[in-house]
């Protein structure tokens, strides 16, 4: 079968020394930042983008991907042991995970989080491998109008699914599209909004924007809200599940994997939404409803499986359509473009090493996470003892050096300062920065497809409604907007996202 020979090729790529090392570094780093509250995958990946310059494209993407799913894994450890979620996607795990730890069941809680993550991650990876080629074939039949509508849908859904006011999120998306237009117009060579600054002729830098809005703004926010950290003084015993526990968690893991996989593919979906959804579902249908919130093992298994499944499947739109589903995937687009690879449906054909190697490495990485991390739980918890006043200057310095080394130009550092300021203000006035980043990445692509579509249709905008694919996608976007206008759905979403 094709799939098997392709996966075989993928493993041959993933198991080379360089790529194994990249995978290991990525997953370990991901676990570390997952454990540390206030340092998320978006900030870390934007921090590391400059360093991936010198690497091979496949190696770079394998490492960055490892950070993302590694973070889903690391986030659960501190949620369970210290009631302190390292990542947004692990907030929900604190509910039952910490209760289990207080009941002296820290070991099984950690074990189920790890095992659930591994099972979900493996199945999610398989799903990426199986659907990738099919979706790619579909995507290749897309015309420019279809692409435009698909991106439009992606932008709308990602804005609508973000926490907070949907209208502000949509405004942020549009503002991001606008920022993406700065620079030289590809078709005419006209300079747009560059103020004759040579550094702006290639457009606003992706790394300064991402690093400023996520990295720098986060530092300031963490400085103003110091966290109180305390470790639960329990000893961790029995890092495995017994038969009764296996029977209790098997079905929740399966359901959460399915749910997480679907949510991961949605634009704007991703790990956080998946874990909330899976927990809510289990609490509603579980036979042990009464136990939820008091240390139900299902309440740990479900969200941790779902967030890992989503972390894998959110690669599907990126790898097949070239469209980022969330902020982390937007960074992956940036990483690919830095490497001179245009993400899109042709990637599977032109970059088979990258496509199949990445998929195989995800599975390898998930295995590494289980094998390496369970015995190292104690070490990760000790990482939290590093005080923030020693950590943030280090993060800041790495940001500065990383940004500078992009072009060996101080301009990028100043650009990061500007976006750091903006990012902090946005945080404060309740405008989520993630939609802006996605808009920024998709803006130039949308412009190109819009121009092509209109040229082909001789200036007739009806083309977007006449082509069935395009019309369907626009219809879905309309449904998404209308759904959010209904107060009951909006309340449900805010509840889920607020945890």
């Amino acid at each position: 079968m094709d799939l098997i020979s392709n996966l075989g090729h993928g493993f041959a790529v993933a198991l080379t020394l360089d790529n194994l090392l990249a995978c290991l570094i990525g997953t370990l780093l991901g676990t570390a930042i997952g454990v540390l509250p206030g340092v998320g995958p978006v900030a870390t990946i934007s921090l590391l983008l400059p360093i991936t310059f010198g690497m091979q494209a496949t190696t770079a993407i394998i490492m960055l991907a490892g950070i993302y799913y590694g973070a889903q894994y690391g986030g659960s450890t501190t949620s369970i042991l210290m009631n302190l979620p390292g990542e947004v996607s692990s907030v929900i795990t604190t509910l039952d995970g910490y209760q289990m730890a207080r009941n002296g069941q820290a070991g099984p809680a950690l074990a189920v989080a790890a095992i659930g993550s591994f099972i979900a991650g493996s199945l999610g990876t398989l799903l990426v491998a199986a659907t990738g080629p099919i979706l790619t074939a579909v995507a290749l039949s897309f015309g420019p109008a279809d692409y435009f509508s698909l991106m439009f849908l992606g932008l709308i859904v990602s804005a609508v699914l973000t926490e907070g006011s949907p209208i502000k999120s949509i405004a942020m998306v549009v503002a991001g599209v606008g920022l993406g237009l700065v620079g030289t117009d590809v078709q005419t060579g006209q300079q747009r909004f560059t103020f004759n600054i040579p550094e702006l002729s290639d457009g606003i830098g992706f790394v300064p924007l991402a690093m400023g809005m996520f990295g720098i703004a986060e530092i300031v926010r963490n400085l103003e809200n110091p966290e109180i950290r305390q470790t639960l003084g329990t000893k961790i015993t029995r890092l495995y599940l017994n038969g009764a526990e296996w029977r209790r968690v098997a079905a929740p893991i399966a359901r959460a994997t399915a749910l997480g996989s679907v949510v991961g593919i949605l634009p704007g979906g991703g790990a956080a939404l998946a874990s909330m959804g899976a927990y809510t579902l289990e609490r509603r249908i579980s036979r042990n409803k009464a136990m939820f919130g008091k240390g139900a093992i299902e309440g740990v298994a479900a969200p941790e499986s779902a967030n890992n499944a989503a972390a894998q499947t959110s690669f599907i739109p990126l790898l097949t359509l070239g469209i980022p589903a969330n902020a982390v995937m937007a960074l992956m687009v940036g990483a690919l473009i830095i490497q001179g690879i245009q993400p899109g449906p042709r990637m599977i054909e032109t970059q088979p090493d990258l496509f199949w190697g990445l998929i195989a490495s995800m599975w390898v990485g998930n295995l590494m996470l289980v094998v390496i991390n369970l015995p190292l739980v104690g070490m990760w918890v000790r990482l939290l003892k590093v005080p923030y006043d020693l950590m943030y200057p280090a993060i800041l310095i790495f940001c500065c050096i990383g940004v500078y080394s992009l072009n060996n130009n101080a301009f990028d550092v100043y650009a990061t300062v500007v976006f750091g300021f903006l990012g902090y203000v946005f945080l404060k006035i309740g405008c989520p920065p993630a939609p802006m980043l996605i808009g920024f990445v998709l803006g130039p692509m949308m412009e190109e497809h819009l121009r092509r579509a209109m040229l082909l249709s001789r200036g007739d905008p009806m083309v977007f409604l006449e082509r069935p694919i395009s019309a369907t996608l626009l219809g879905l976007a309309l449904v998404a907007v209308l759904a959010m206008a209904l107060p009951s759905i909006r309340r449900g979403k805010d509840q889920a996202l607020a945890g």
Partner: protein, 141 residues
Amino acid sequence: MPVPGDFIAFAAAMLWLNQDHPIGTARRMGPGYMPMLTFWILGGLGLVIVLGGLFGGPAAIGRFAWRDLALILAAMVFFGAALERLGFYAAIAGTIVIAAIAERNFRPLRVAGLVAGLLLLCWAIFLWGLELRIPEFPWSR
């Protein structure tokens, strides 16, 4: 202070700047077409947000940690300005000290130790490990 009209102001400014760019026609779009669409939409959304704010009462805006923000950004500006003039080590040391003032409880000895440790770490990672071409001592040339 950020006001809800910021989206409108931004859109208006960009539309004004966009006058320099040929719009073209719907069939052959010029470089100004997409910006025109984008910023008109943004302006419209900004208007909706402002109107919504009028009816929904003032939005709750949290307190701004201006001091922390200013110090962190100042540290970065210092880094940008100092790197090519004072060199790698001096820029790092200065940046850390400025950033460290943001911590309420500034302990000189602790910061000195942090500077020493990070200088070593940055040298090891960026100059020795990744071999980045960053001026170390530009003033000695």
